[in-house]
Symmetry: D2
Subunit: 354 residues, 4 copies
């Protein structure tokens, strides 16, 4: 293992930030030096995260201030809401820091796409060209040499890992992809307090939202599919649902097979595709994954079944939206960027059952 | 209102049975005379349903015995597991009772289909020809004159109400229907005790099961679509999911439009199709229903959206699986069969929020 | 039944307000005329409560305006946050309206107590003398002739119904009462949006809050106990807990018996004490109530057990905090105030199971 | 760190067993050699625990067989239902194995007490004398030299850690202790499938059970208090409640102070009492712990408050019932018994938030 890297987390009191602190505090390759949170500046980490009493009993949140302190870090995680990272990243990049951004700011090579979706002007569009989309199972080689990584959204992570083997092997009609996804509430973040996230409104209920392409993760998935296929426009149908669990995401992906394939054949192909991917587990034929299988861990479990009557394949993938869907994947990207084992710091942490 | 009808419930200590008791005990057109439960025979109703302390403080469960007592009833609800009703129904029908069966025994006109799906021999197949599929919003006229009604499954109820306007108006390709459904755990019934329904395994998790057409409600939906279209085989893709809520079902239906239609046009068409249906509520454009909106009530709320890029429509329908998906719909069928107001006894009961 | 009373609800878009609308819309003795909500003024009731699509499809919320419209009502329910009713009540009382206030403004005969607890000046203290504490099982006679009723808090309702038979019969040491209560999240109301009520923070967790007498319901319980016993100060230990359910409250009451009594004797005594109380159900020896038994209903279920080793009795009472703990009890008070059957409009509504 | 110890888990497919596998698989001081489960014998660990796909991808469950294989282990964890360990322990002890039993078989020095509570004859009562009650914060010295440890129940763990500082310093009346505890459902174990643990019955509900001393953990707590105080009989009031969470236990302890103490003084005293206890965290004045703070970790968080009016102290302690309440504490005992750091293998695993 290389020498210890000095690391900072900006936006450290949110849910993804807390997961970063949890994981990084046990990661032997890093020294967790700075945790920036304006809300909690000056307070102990445990004021926001009592669960870290055993991990980070003494550390305190700091204010961003003039940001100069961050420049001394080897790696900076940006875990703020969308539209912040594009302001901070240029200075960090110039100072030689590696940056993993968990927001959407650097997920799109084409910054005009970002501007259209997020309805804001991108202030550092030149960085988008250099930024790598941080889905290690698909883009590990590019990530290894990247200085700036745009960490994928949770829905795209679960959905693209489910689709990749089919797309790469040209087994499905890319124009008939339907993704029906179910997410736990922590995916909305910790800063959203509205009635929409009030326990009494969400508990004992399920609902869909932002359907028919209105969710911002729709173009993110489409952009990644375009990169993979070389096809310019791949409009998909994507439906996110909110279910009353705290953590966990299940993506049900429907695709039309272009050839006849058995469930067995496809499972074998998936197994082989992900054989070197430490964090992808393929379910045995006849079994399907549950989100609970990944609670607290960085793994993605995938199961599938072919219906011969319709020649459609249904692929089910599950992740913990805060780990593989956010902070865990960000650390996986750090590992690749710093030359650590891809799994460093990530095997210790999960996953609990039941 | 017609004179009071004498009514019995067989299988009265299950979840659907309990809902029947709850609703019928307040229904002014009926006298709830008999509640059969072998498990609780001789015990007060409140031993199984403490919630009915105010409704049925004195009534007791009885044993089926020789079944002769049932013959004096005007209407008998059969709410047992599959494979029981086909034994009881012939005697009841012969004695002139009206019968609403909540199991699958009389949902299929073609009894060989039933035998294939439920892997058992049907002992009274001649009744299947006469039985009417009890989805009142589609088959009210036939139900009114039926002596035997096969009450639909919960998934088919939610899914067919979502699809009917599109199918009836020939607006979608029937061979590209995908249904992604999410159900609360009470749908599994009260008699299933296994690890699969243990709180600790289900809570904070979501999973799919019986995918790729393996769920028994798949052919039930397909059979109803065939009746509606006249097309012999309409293979659909149907994926049920189990989510950690007690009651509630959400069906997300994907269909390919054969013509260009706006969300607005389709909503208007749905509104018009269901204008006389007291229990169907169409969501306004831009809003979508949540299962919590129907908790404890017999309503089905439907919302939809068209994606012009893919020319697919996504229809979301929600019900309480134990009410519109079981007992409430059964009472709605009784109302039609007995000449009561379709809503009799069904407006009082729900629905609570939050 | 008397003629229909014209009724208004102020604060109609909160959780208690919504329950009032649900119950009053089916109450045959009342005409639900006005539903005031500043937040939703002008919008249909169903915009806030989609569950009332079948009950109140056409009605709209109105603004308070100059409040003159309310004066034409026979009964006005005030369901706002604390500190509002004391401004509205004087005008209504003067105009001859009967008023049921669901806030704390009129729960204390001694307005200085209110001012101390709620840290505000009471603007209509003269009304507190005339107001009756609206717990019908204890104070029915006074409620019948009251023009102004202070509807009890949810914790006091569950706790006082559990304690009353022991207190009234002088069976326990009033200075050794400990109440450990568990509440669902809807008890916090719909207007509180903070992180404290965020689904992700509350789900899969339990916590205590405002312990050691700091919860405002502590002096409310103590004041009622003082009224019942004539003892000036009865300091109790009261600990509220927040548990991850939407509705439901369980109060575990510990008391030291002053004489030796068996579980059987006490249960008989409770049964006899509440024999004319339609909404109180005493559990059989060896069984205990669960909050689910009262979901959506106005009942309170009570069970108990004596430990001969310690001569302590443990009494468990459960209610639906939004019904018997708020809106249902308010309607029960209206029934008494207007000369209706005490149960009018309250038997139809619940309770659902599971 | 000492050399690696060879370790076995018997009863490895239950919830406590699964936690042992999760923790031990990452514990650098041990070699996890054998996982016995009759139910899953021959199957991969991941068949029962898909969450361990990344930890134990290859290991399989084995059958107990003649039990000889276990004799080669340094440490054996017995994680079966009550009444099994007393049969297995004698052979293991004779062979020189260290044994940590997670059942109740060796928690009582007085085996007749065990026989009375568990209604069975103890077949190896001579071992009870030598066995040590494995609550490390109270009995670390004895545990270090023990060959057989009876791992405490979850309720006793949470309750005794809350009480110990008060008892040890003689600050409370031992005859006025009341414990009101709330437990997640995993505490019931994985083998109990009945209707009592059916998701639909437990969700959205709270109930008490085995009140007034009928829960088997009552005498376990009392026995430990007797050991601590030297008083022969300390009858307590203990009320367990079942709440709809998977993991987590909160114990609310009420005690009468014999002298006047402030909240501040007592917190300082607790802080000092547990200053060398790595797994006990004392909450700051004015804050209280939530079970979510300990999810997946071996910590116990404790908060308290004194009510000067009643001179009662309310102490709140929270644990993860499967970790500090079972498997984590068992590993903590192994650490002490084997001369490892007390925290070995236990810091890595938790705790996740939210």
């Amino acid at each position: 293992m290389s020498e210890q890297k000095k690391v900072a987390v900006v936006g450290a009191s949110g849910y993804a930030g807390g997961e970063l602190l949890r994981i990084l505090s046990r990661h032997q390759g890093v020294e967790l030096a700075i945790a920036v949170s304006e809300t909690y500046a000056g307070k102990p980490i445990t004021a926001s995260f009592p669960n870290l009493a055993g991990h980070l009993p003494q550390m305190r949140f700091s204010s961003y201030g003039d940001g100069l302190e961050l420049l001394s870090c080897d790696v900076v995680f940006l875990a703020q809401e969308n539209g912040k990272a594009m302001h901070l990243a240029p200075g960090l990049i110039e100072a030689g820091c590696k940056v993993v951004d968990l927001s959407a700011d650097f997920r799109f090579r084409d910054h005009t796409k970002y501007e259209e979706i997020y309805k804001t002007t991108h202030v550092s569009p030149e960085l988008n060209q250099a930024a790598v989309y941080g889905l290690p199972e698909l883009f590990a080689e590019q990530i290894k040499t990247a200085q700036l990584v745009g960490n994928p959204g949770c829905y795209p992570t679960a959905s693209l890992l489910a689709l990749a083997p089919l797309i790469e092997n040209d087994l499905i009609d890319p124009l008939q992809i339907i993704i029906d996804a179910k997410s736990g509430v922590s995916g909305a973040g910790r800063a959203k307090f509205g009635l929409d996230y009030h326990f009494a409104e969400i508990n004992e209920s399920v609902t869909a939202y932002n359907i028919s392409g209105k969710h911002r993760h729709t173009p993110e998935i489409e952009a990644a599919l375009s990169v993979m296929t070389g096809i310019k426009e791949i409009p998909i149908t994507f439906t996110p649902h909110l279910i009353p669990i705290t953590r966990g995401m299940l993506s049900t992906v429907y695709a039309k097979l272009t050839r006849t394939n058995s469930t067995e054949d496809l499972l074998e192909m998936y197994q082989s595709r992900y054989t070197t991917s430490s964090f992808v587990v393929i379910s045995k034929e006849g079994t399907l994954p549950a989100t609970k299988h990944t609670l607290g861990s960085n793994r993605c479990h995938i199961g599938l079944s072919v219906d011969n009557r319709t020649n459609r394949v249904t692929v089910i993938s599950v992740i913990d939206n805060l780990v593989k869907g956010a902070a865990g994947q960000a650390v996986q990207n750090l590992n690749l960027m710093c030359g650590f084992e891809e799994t460093a710091g990530l095997l210790e942490v999960g996953g609990i059952f039941p």
